[in-house]
């Protein structure tokens, strides 16, 4: 499953990083604690979070995550957007909260 498939199925907003829409999604990780993600997420995962600042992109890039989903209508900060475009790692958005979008993603990836 690619990021693009995910966007279509879960009706996500694409904020940035659209050159990375063909990245393969291997799983997901939901957390707002950066060193939790740093220590435990694996490459190819989608990261579900409410953090919007630029360090999120540093982590996504270092960990080679496939995309970020911002929950509850949160929007990325300006330099986060820029960095997402530079890295080609999409930042996506949903109005759902973490529990709901995590559940949907889990179901989708395991169906």
């Amino acid at each position: 499953m690619t990021v693009k498939d995910l966007v279509e199925t879960l009706q996500l907003k694409v904020f940035s990083g659209s050159t990375g829409m063909n990245r393969e999604v291997t799983g997901g990780y939901s957390s707002d604690l950066l060193s939790d993600v740093m220590g435990n997420a694996e490459s190819g995962m989608v990261w579900i979070t409410l953090q919007t600042h630029v360090n999120v992109m540093a982590i996504a890039s270092l960990k080679e995550l496939s995309a970020i989903i911002l929950v509850k209508g949160f929007e990325p900060e300006e330099n986060t957007l820029t960095q997402s475009n530079v890295e080609g790692i999409p930042i996506l958005g949903t109005t759902l909260q973490t529990f709901e979008i995590s559940g949907k993603l889990y179901q989708l990836l395991n169906s």
Binding site: D32, L33, L34, S35, D36, M38, G39, S43, T49, Q51, H53, V54, N55, A58, I59, S61, L62, K63, N79
Partner: protein, 143 residues
């Protein structure tokens, strides 16, 4: 090969810069990706700790055929109780830093878990010194 990076306390925007540069260098050197992943996690956490907890610091990365040795030296408040600081969940991060999602108290444990050898020493009122070694022919499982 030797590389040096400077880190400024409080500068979260640039935190991760050294990790990202080192990642590129290691990729160019065709280092095994599992090893790169471990180096990146350990270095990032060290880098962010300088930004979050110290005034400024210098990172020195030494790469040879056997291992990658990373030394992080900062001027800062130092760590009064290292055993306590090493415990998962222990953090003195400020409320503002916590709001950004730092301050889980998992940085130092992440460094330890991802290195083959890890040394930490600190002088209160002066600063903290970290030495992280990742062997290139490492057999340690990724954690």
């Amino acid at each position: 090969m030797n590389f040096e990076f400077k880190v400024q306390g409080g500068d979260f925007v640039r935190a991760g810069n050294a990790s990202s540069q080192v990642k590129k260098i290691l990729k160019q050197l065709n280092v095994d990706s599992a090893i790169i992943k471990r180096v990146v996690v350990a270095l990032y956490e060290g880098e962010v700790n300088i930004a979050a907890h110290a005034f400024n610091g210098i990172i020195n990365v030494e790469i040879d055929t056997e291992r990658i040795l990373i030394k992080l030296d900062d001027n800062g408040p130092g760590i009064p109780d290292i055993d306590l600081a090493m415990q998962p969940g222990y953090s003195t991060a400020s409320p503002i830093v916590r709001e950004m999602g730092f301050g889980a108290g998992m940085g130092l444990p992440n460094i330890k878990n991802n290195s083959d050898d890890f040394k930490i020493s600190s002088v209160v009122g002066k600063g903290t010194h970290l030495e992280i070694t990742v062997n290139l022919k490492s057999t340690k499982e990724e954690v």
